[in-house]
Symmetry: C2
Subunit: 524 residues, 2 copies
């Protein structure tokens, strides 16, 4: 099938370069796997690589992380292999955010052998006054083609990158990560438009890349597949870490969805324990085939659940020395998992030696938890996570989770907040609830302040708060000048009126004209 009319595309997502890079054992995992992915692309002589976001784990990757990434891309994606497809669309539109708005392999100063196309994820999204993201450093160096960027918070119009190889026409659509609730609202308001080529519409294979919640995290905190246009042929869904790479058919929209999953486990939840793969997608005409390729450098991860109350024959809370019995049993379980990992690793010299092991112990029903840290330390020479091999849960919380959120992967959910457990928005909300009475910060909206603090914490945008305050101050001053307000009392009244107005519009989901300018986009 590998003929001159067949696109061969390597598909991967959520590589999270730099995740745990300081860890003595796991520090190189993400770089090793990125190396494997690029090597695989080269060996398979793909036409291009398509990444679904979160190439970087940190919004501001470390120097070492950037240096490794640049070096690997230069090593594998430059060279003399000719590129056998053309770009038919207006590249100045496709790559309008770049200072070099054309696909890298057409740059006459760069000898690209494998073009990489990528949308950004929620970990490496654009931030700051300049709206740059880590991918932009790679694209300015000519190593990546960053597509799927949108400037507006009101509406998105996606102009696909139109590619042709032989007789096959491929339209590449993408949306870089956007807060789910905002994108949900835009879809509901019919503000997401996917442009289509005017001629020969039926001849195009339409490939869409998205980096959003696919599982339902709250009513509007995900993107239902049904929102997407039905002319699409295949959706590559990033962000979700579980490997569900075999295309599943959406029977309402009649397209397929592939969820490659991350290439590194960033949490010890069941979804991450599914064997990691990348995909080799072949497209010929409007037909496609997706070949699963297992990743060998990925650290093994085994997880098991143990519900103590389900083993009344072995232990009950009233037994003498029940704690020791439970601990001994857990030790057996862990040792069995370690052995299983060892057997499984046989003949895979690329796989790191120490696996990730997690035993979830449900100790509800009167049992006591033992010291999980001390227990885990026993396996310091055998596992890669010797701080948290065992994890205690109670049936109640377990059930509540399952019931309330319909099987959502909570490890996943938590991993989106950089300081696990602490939700910055909640803190800010609480502050405003208290502070409002005394009108301490009447110029700053809760929403704006929440976003600024979030950027400060999550993205290390050190100037976010200062910029918000300057923005709000200037906005207020402009408003007051226009109204010709003079006395102190009048100023207070006007400011309160502005506040109320803003809140009212926010509740209705409306943005004022003033707010869709550059600054408004950030603090809206």
């Amino acid at each position: 099938m590998d003929d001159e009319d067949t696109f061969k595309i390597l598909i991967a997502t959520d590589i999270h370069l730099g995740y745990l890079e300081k860890d003595a054992v796991r520090g190189n995992d993400t770089f090793n796997t990125f190396d494997e992915i690029l090597k695989c692309a080269k060996q398979n002589q793909v036409d291009f690589i398509l990444l679904g976001g979160d190439l970087f784990h940190e919004n501001k990757p470390s120097r070492r992380c950037l240096h490794s990434c640049i070096s690997l891309l230069r090593k594998y994606c430059m060279g003399d292999t000719p590129i056998l497809f053309d770009v038919l669309s207006d590249q100045a539109v496709n790559f309008s955010n770049s200072k070099f708005p054309w696909v890298n392999y057409q740059d006459e100063n760069l000898n690209i052998s494998i073009p990489v196309f990528s949308v950004h994820g929620n970990h490496d999204d654009p931030t700051g006054a300049d709206g740059l993201c880590a991918l932009d450093l790679l694209s300015s160096a000519g190593l990546v083609n960053h597509f799927g960027r949108s400037q507006s918070v009101e509406r998105i119009e996606i102009s696909p990158v139109l590619l042709q190889k032989g007789s096959t026409k491929l339209a590449l659509y993408g949306i870089g990560s956007i807060p789910d609730e905002r994108l949900y609202r835009m879809f509901v308001n019919n503000q997401v438009t996917m442009l289509r080529p005017k001629e020969d519409q039926d001849q195009w294979f339409n490939l869409f890349t998205i980096h959003q919640n696919r599982s339902k995290h709250g009513a509007t905190n995900y993107i239902p597949e049904q929102f997407l246009d039905d002319f699409l042929d295949l959706v590559v869904w990033g962000h979700e870490h579980e490997c569900l790479i075999n295309p599943s058919r959406n029977e309402q929209r009649l397209f397929y969805v592939t969820q490659p999953g991350s290439s590194v486990a960033t949490s010890l939840s069941p979804g991450e324990a599914v064997k990691k793969h990348i995909g080799l997608l072949r497209v010929k005409g409007r037909k496609m085939n997706l070949q699963k390729i297992p990743l060998h450098t990925v650290r093994q991860f085994f997880i098991q659940d143990l519900v103590l109350s389900e083993h009344p024959d072995l232990f009950n809370p009233d037994m003498p020395k029940v704690n020791q019995r439970v601990e001994a049993f857990c030790q057996e379980k862990v040792e069995a998992m370690i052995e299983e990992a060892e057997r499984d690793r046989l003949g895979n010299p690329l796989t790191p030696e120490k696996p990730l092991i997690r035993l979830r112990v449900d100790y509800s029903g009167g049992f006591e938890a033992f010291n999980a840290t001390r227990f885990s330390q026993k396996f310091v020479e055998q596992v890669a996570n010797p701080k948290d091999v065992v994890h205690f849960i109670r049936q109640k919380e377990y059930k509540a989770k399952v019931k309330g959120e319909e099987g959502v992967d909570f490890g996943q959910l938590l991993s989106h907040s950089s300081t696990e457990g602490l939700r910055v928005e909640d803190l800010v909300k609480e502050y405003f609830l208290t502070a409002e009475k005394t009108v301490q910060l009447s110029l700053l909206t809760e929403q704006g302040m929440g976003k600024a603090v979030q950027e400060y914490v999550d993205k290390e945008e050190k100037d976010a708060i200062e910029e918000l305050i300057r923005y709000q101050l200037e906005k207020t001053q402009r408003h007051l000048q226009q109204r010709g307000v003079l006395t102190e009392e009048e100023i207070d009244q006007e400011v309160q009126r502005m506040e109320r107005g803003g809140r009212h519009l926010q509740q209705r989901g409306v943005l004022t004209e003033e707010e869709i300018d550059h600054e408004g986009e950030r603090w809206g």
Copy 2:
């Protein structure tokens, strides 16, 4: 003279990209001037660009700063212009720190039109466990050739990059920035060796690039020109910001020194007020010519001194309303400087509108200082530094400075400490003087801790302190194991012995074998 045997080299240094990048008025200055420098190189069709360090102001440049730098280098230094010189030396030695150890223009995947060669400066020097610096990001992307790196703290052996154009042979030597005292010690101990080609030694033009203190900042805190080998023909001296680009002859060593100076004023001291230039160096055979090229995008800077006691006819401390008179006189002076700047700028559309203005007022002799901030604010629409136009000094401190340091540029001196005025080393020293009595941190040496804190503060190396502690702990544990020490008391004694030994060796300038390993190099 521009024939096939003549090297044309653009020489610049201390560009300090990103200096004050958040400043609403001055934020783009460094990028505009880098653009001008690169454009100038292109217009003059130079063979290569030689940078003397501190291309970046921050050790960890911001994303915007890196993005701008990468974009400018790609814009100006890539293209079809053929490179007309060869590299004769072993590039694997010249660029041994790079993952791509060859000159960028010989990389078959990059179409380089102007190679850039650069040493690192003290602002952008290698830090952290990986020993990477900002230039390494550029070199991994193939945009800069980073040379003059040394791995050892004991000795330096410089293998020159040997270049040949037509019949002209150019040996390019360089040392990236090293703490002055360390390099001074190495020179004194004859541990700095400049290798020379074996054949035709007399035919080479020997060019050396250095980024160190040239002015004497303390007995061993600079590098005397006399330390340098006398076979050199020209020394390009970076780090010093005053433009003294006309080559001056060292009559003892019989070589020339050119000090291009920075292309941006990073302090408001007299040295920075000297008009900024870059150099166009021509080398043919062993003859050279250095052409000064004025920079037009550099913000003007005018500085004047006013000694109040030298104008008894105008004011004395006992006059009524003397303060108002002084302030009015200062205002006249400042307005005159602003006018001078305006006239001077006529016909230079590239020069930014608002100049930097500094009036240093010596108010000794019983005068009072007025509010400098309020005074400066009067010029907010006319100057680029409306917070500190006027600066009060007293004759005593002024004289003390001049006398004690033989005309050293103090603005320069201070600018090397990132938190102006606060010297981290002094704080650490003070802490250890107090703490030593109670033996609180007996495992950490003052020197090691000082360096770690300095890296933490200056270079934003967040892990520096943790890494030092781990290193010292492991070293101590190793030592104790070797000695077979057992009781608590014995351990205390051993630790104290180690400490004393370490200090003794440090005083003698000797480094133990153990300390020259990778970690020792950092904390030694």
